[in-house]
């Protein structure tokens, strides 16, 4: 693979990765959001694969494949299953983000601002070792920030889970782009933790629905001072 092609493909994958995060902000149907999230997982795996192929490192390629299976396959499947249970139980208004705290136009504007912020923050990171990969590093940070934004502004429990996973995807992408991934044992532990966290959140979503009759997080205001 020539250097130019590698850079172009890497930028393409990173672009798709960021675009998916923005589309999550756009969407209201939770099913569509989960589809976009799965696509983002594919883009993330592609970033890892490209880096692995470029550096000819088999362990990195294997890690990227595992990350792809987890982020584009297992996690979206888990969320979709929880979504199906919700829909069967409560009807269609449970599967839509009815009224996000911030409307779509303002969300997209915020995403643009957050991306600019990510580029500003990431400047010292890029300067330390300017390569095609680290030049794309701000994309990972931007997705982290957008994930946080989704987590804070969305009201459906499952939309918050997607926000948390965006955050996590962003961190994994940062790790890939900055250092071609963290050591395998750490990556394994992190993936396992994320998987378990999503399982726990899935079960808690069911319990929230049983206890409150809805998965609208705004209704969780029993505990306060």
């Amino acid at each position: 693979m020539s250097a130019g092609l590698y850079t172009q493909l890497l930028d393409l994958a990173c672009g798709a990765f960021l675009l998916a995060a923005v589309l999550v902000l756009w969407g209201r149907e939770l099913a569509a959001i989960v589809r976009v999230f799965a696509l983002q997982g594919v883009a993330l795996a592609a970033v890892g694969l490209l880096l692995g192929a470029h550096e000819a490192r088999w362990d990195l390629i294997l890690v990227a494949l595992a990350v792809g299976v987890l982020r584009a396959g297992v996690l979206p499947y888990l969320i979709r299953r929880a979504l199906a249970v919700s829909a069967a139980d409560r009807g269609s208004d449970e599967v839509r983000e009815t009224q996000p705290l911030v409307n779509v136009a303002a969300s997209l504007l915020t995403a643009a601002l957050l991306t600019l912020l990510a580029y500003a923050v990431a400047r010292p990171l890029t300067e330390l070792n300017p390569t095609p990969a680290t030049r794309a590093l701000p994309v990972g940070l931007a997705v982290v920030l957008i994930g946080f934004f989704v987590l804070v502004t969305r009201r459906r429990a499952l939309a918050q889970v997607v926000g948390f996973l965006l955050l996590d995807n962003g961190i994994t992408a940062t790790a890939f782009l900055a250092t071609s991934g963290v050591p395998v044992i750490v990556e394994l532990g992190v993936s396992f933790d994320v998987l378990l966290a999503v399982l726990v959140l899935q079960i808690l979503t069911t319990r929230v629905r049983e206890a409150f009759g809805t998965t609208d997080i705004d209704d969780l205001r029993e505990l306060h001072d």
């Binding site: 330390l128 987590l151 955050l167 050591p183 044992i185 750490v186 396992f192 319990r207």
Partner: protein, 527 residues
Amino acid sequence: MPYLSHGAALLLTAPVAAPLVVAAACALPHARMPRPAAVRSHDRLPSVPAAEPFPAQPRHRHPADWAGLVPPVVIVLCGSLLAVDVLGAGPVSACSGLLRADALTAWMLLVVGSVALIACGAAPGYLAGERAAGRASARTGWHYQVLVQSFLAAMCLAVLTANLGVLWVAIEATTIVTAFLVGHRRTRTSVEAAWKYVVICSAGIALAFLGTVLLYYAARQAGIAEAWALDWPTLAAHADRLDPSVTRLGITLVILGFGAKAGLIPLHAWLPDAHSQAPAPVSALMSGVLLSVAFAAILRYRAIADAALGADFTRVLLAGIALLTLALAAGLLLGQRDYKRMLAYSSMEHMSLIALGAAIGSPLALSAVLLHIAGHGLAKSAAFCASGRILHLTGTSRIGRVNGLLARAPSVGGVFGFAVVALLAFPPFSLFASELGIARAGFTAGTVLAWVTSAALLLVLTAFAALAARTARMLLGPAPTAAGSPGATEPGIWPLALGLTACAALGVGLGPLTDLLHAAAQAIGDR
């Protein structure tokens, strides 16, 4: 130089393995048995099983409840043996450098083990109370045991590992295993607390992972090999080679992220909810050691940051966080109406004092911080376990509806009273010595820090007044006549009394622990 031996490997793995073995032993008999249909329907039809299991319950012994005491004993034992090893021959490591013990590890292991002894010793009494109240089924018992033991294993791993990535994995694992303990009642309040707990802690700690990744990047660029770039001793030794601007960003994220788990601003919102909803022994573990295990991670990173960036960077960050957290905790303590939440805010108060001590960073301050971690763990776990008993006796967690505890249940009221007196840092208890140490270190560390320390002391006084007034209202007064008086000896009170005695003993004199404390402070101090 770290040396390798089979003995050291055993000592380093046993504190993690022992709780896991007990957890597996509790889980296996139930996993192999096909779950009986009656238990399955238990979840959905609360009226059916109430008739059958309970008449048999009080006679039934629950040996599994007591099996939980084995791992804490193992942890304390390994902690003491490691302390002897470490003081004699320096840090020991095993599993190709993944596990490592220095003086700080030994100290934290001793704290984790002794607080776990209190919590696991109080657990049988707590579970018996839950069974008597009809809130616990046979399943609850072993679920509880499995989750608590995994929780202990995760905390021990976090303390024992030298790899900063594994440290992160272990601390995130504590969130996952405790989620269901926080939400065990499935009521609206407990489900809400569990949701907030998992979302805030996982997101917060994700920031810490991003910070870890950035540090790893800086370390790789500084020419440290992949296998050692997350190794704490290596990073601390070569910290001056790390790129300052990347390290600054990474350390900020790490302190905010692990600060979430340690109950520090800005991601502290989960703490009062989770601590008030979890079963009392679990609250004791969370407040007594989980917070300080997370803070021990911050102490490790602080050592790297100080070597890479100079002491001022973490000093400003930690002092600011400490003051804000302290102000928030003192303010909310003033208006508090729930005694478990009151204890939770008191934990935030003490964690911010610990953060202040870490910000000061002199050897005296660091020794005081470590002593404060131990004293707070012992006193707070006794207070939380006693509060669980009070909840069983009175059926309410409102401060206004509890009075005359000393007349009604002298042993529980007495232990709760003494625990709060310890938390208020009265002299026989070790928190007095450690708060004095932090204050003295603060006043000798320059003008700005002296002002910060004075402000902190003022806020501590506010919290003191609020805590003292509320506890006095609960303890004093005549016993309510309607309530049936329980027996003179309360079940499960002796571990709490032992814990408080240990806390007082630490305050009177450290004895053989003196060397360990100073060595631990040195391990994370300036090198």
